[in-house]
């Protein structure tokens, strides 16, 4: 049930929640067109992610393409993870990203010093940001998602995002789609072009 006039949430995603254990996930995508005419409080996120389930509850690790984070009015990229054992969420240092830039989002297990690393890289500028999450648990779930905040129509969301050339170590996902029909958006569609390496998250733009 939605009590707000504006919508916030994971508008669409591809997911695999029935796997055993992932240790590496690399995805490539181009920065899509910015929202055509967004309200000032709109924020959009695009990411690939791992999720694990330690005893304290789920933990997510994600290289994130951010639109209008903290009111920036532009695209930025940053690795994120959380919550930690103190229920805190962490963001790595941001990198600059422009429409059309080629991005690499990578999450992997670093055997020495036994930590998960989360990295976003702009392949056009070679700028990279990485953050380490320690060892929160076995990565059981994988996601690709468009998450939005304060949207009320198609003017608030970016163009299509083509996650391609995806590779995995450990398990291999069989992607499934999920669309939130509560979102006040047309054109949402999760297209699994080929398992497991290419998925397009469509919007109306």
């Amino acid at each position: 049930m939605n009590y707000c006039t504006k919508y916030s949430g994971w508008a669409e995603k591809a997911y695999e929640t029935n796997a055993d254990s992932f240790i590496k996930f690399v995805a490539y995508w181009s920065c899509p067109s910015a929202p055509p005419s967004p309200s000032s409080d709109v924020v959009d996120y695009l990411f690939n992610a791992f999720q694990c389930y330690p005893s304290g509850g789920p933990v997510i690790l994600q290289p994130v393409l951010e639109w209008n984070y903290a009111g920036s009015g532009r695209w930025t990229g940053a690795p994120w993870w959380g919550p930690d054992e103190n229920n805190q969420y962490h963001r790595g240092g941001p990198i600059e990203i422009s429409v059309g830039d080629s991005l690499e989002g990578k999450i992997w297990w670093e055997p020495s010093p036994q930590v998960y690393a989360i990295q976003i890289r702009n392949q056009d500028t070679s700028s990279t940001s990485v953050i380490y999450a320690g060892n929160p648990g076995i990565m059981e779930d994988v996601f690709l998602a468009l998450e939005v905040y304060n949207v009320d129509d198609d003017n608030d969301v970016p163009g299509d995002t083509d996650f391609h050339s995806m590779t995995f170590e450990g398990d291999t996902p069989i992607w499934k789609g999920d669309v939130d029909e509560n979102a006040p958006l047309s054109g949402l569609n999760v297209e699994i072009v080929s398992q497991p390496d290419r998925v397009i998250l469509h919007t109306a733009n």
Partner: protein, 318 residues
């Protein structure tokens, strides 16, 4: 200190006895635990339990919070709601208590942090059978709840989450499934990912089944509701070409189910609450006039406005 030899011997014997008893107790505990660990449930037992649990969830009084995740800035106030569906339960007094816990699924009370104030209204009322009762939960925060400096151009701690547990007691209705959890994320700017940590998801127990003409076979679909609810669940099963994998599925990819192939799912069209598994039985029947071959079915689940799907391949042998 000089000690008599006999006294020394008694001490030694005593120590040995203590060690032997200690080792015995530890071994007993170890093997008991191993025994417990190895007494895993069979898949059949697990399935029977899931089906029984689903049946209970559809009949006993249930309740849940409408929006189990709230993000807000330090100093902001937000509201959400809780609804109890009494079904056959009542009349009886309902008491709601809300307090802080370590995380979702925990029930042990913790001290509420300075700067977080939570209330539920009404917290006590008399409930009648076959009625729904909604209470408002108000969350107020103050700036000291997130004492970190955030420099957006550098990165760092970007948010802090608190979990609350809502305990709902429906007098005389011990089977009520009405407790729930509420996550509060306090942050200066939005945090990606956090809102989706408990999204609903589902899976088919088998992605393909093989049967002969005239046979009937069953499989199951389990929906885990996560933080979605109270919402209606509905399932739709149709045949597709199997060539394009899109969600929503384009109309041109849908095919008519041939005569002689019948597919049904039960239960379907029901109210679901948060943090539960609902397992439905899918029955596939074939009759002798059906052409042998492969039929790809798409099982669409609608829940709380979310749409997801799964494919079931039915191989029909002559």
């Amino acid at each position: 200190m000089n000690m008599d030899k006999r006294v020394k011997k008694r001490y030694l014997v005593g120590i040995v006895v203590i060690i032997v008893i200690g080792v015995g107790i530890m071994s007993a505990l170890y093997f008991h635990q191993k025994g417990t660990k190895f007494q895993e449930k069979s898949p059949q037992t697990e399935l029977q339990e899931e089906l029984a649990s689903t049946k209970a969830l559809l009949t006993v009084p249930v309740g849940c919070i409408h929006n189990n995740f709230i993000q807000l800035k330090p100093g902001e106030k937000k509201e959400t709601y809780y609804t109890l569906y009494t079904r056959n339960g009542g009349p009886g007094e309902v008491t709601c208590k809300i307090y802080r816990v370590a995380h979702v699924y925990e029930k042990e009370k913790m001290t509420m942090p300075e700067g977080l104030n939570v209330s539920i209204e009404p917290s006590k009322f008399i409930a009648q059978p076959h009625k729904n009762y909604t209470s408002k939960i108000t969350v107020k925060t103050s700036p000291e709840l997130f004492p970190h400096e955030v420099n957006v151009s550098v990165g760092g701690i970007a948010g802090r989450e608190y979990t609350l547990y809502l305990r709902v007691i429906f007098e005389g209705e011990n089977e009520t499934i009405g407790d729930d959890w509420l996550r509060i994320l306090v942050r200066p700017f939005t945090v990606p990912g956090a809102s989706g940590l408990y999204l609903p998801h589902g899976y088919l127990h088998n992605n393909s089944i093989t049967l002969k003409l005239g046979e009937t076979k069953e499989t199951y679909y389990t929906l885990h509701t996560g933080e979605s609810g109270p919402e209606e669940v509905s399932y739709d099963i149709y045949r597709i070409t199997g060539k394009v994998n899109m969600l929503p599925m384009p109309e041109e990819e849908k095919l008519p189910i041939p005569e002689g192939l019948t597919v049904s799912i039960e239960p379907n069209n029901f109210l679901a609450r948060t943090h539960e598994n609902y397992t439905s039985k899918i029955t596939v029947k074939t009759s002798p006039e059906l052409l042998p071959g492969e039929y790809v079915l798409c099982m669409e689940a609608h829940f709380g406005g979310r749409l997801t799907n799964d494919w079931l391949t039915v191989n029909v042998e002559p």
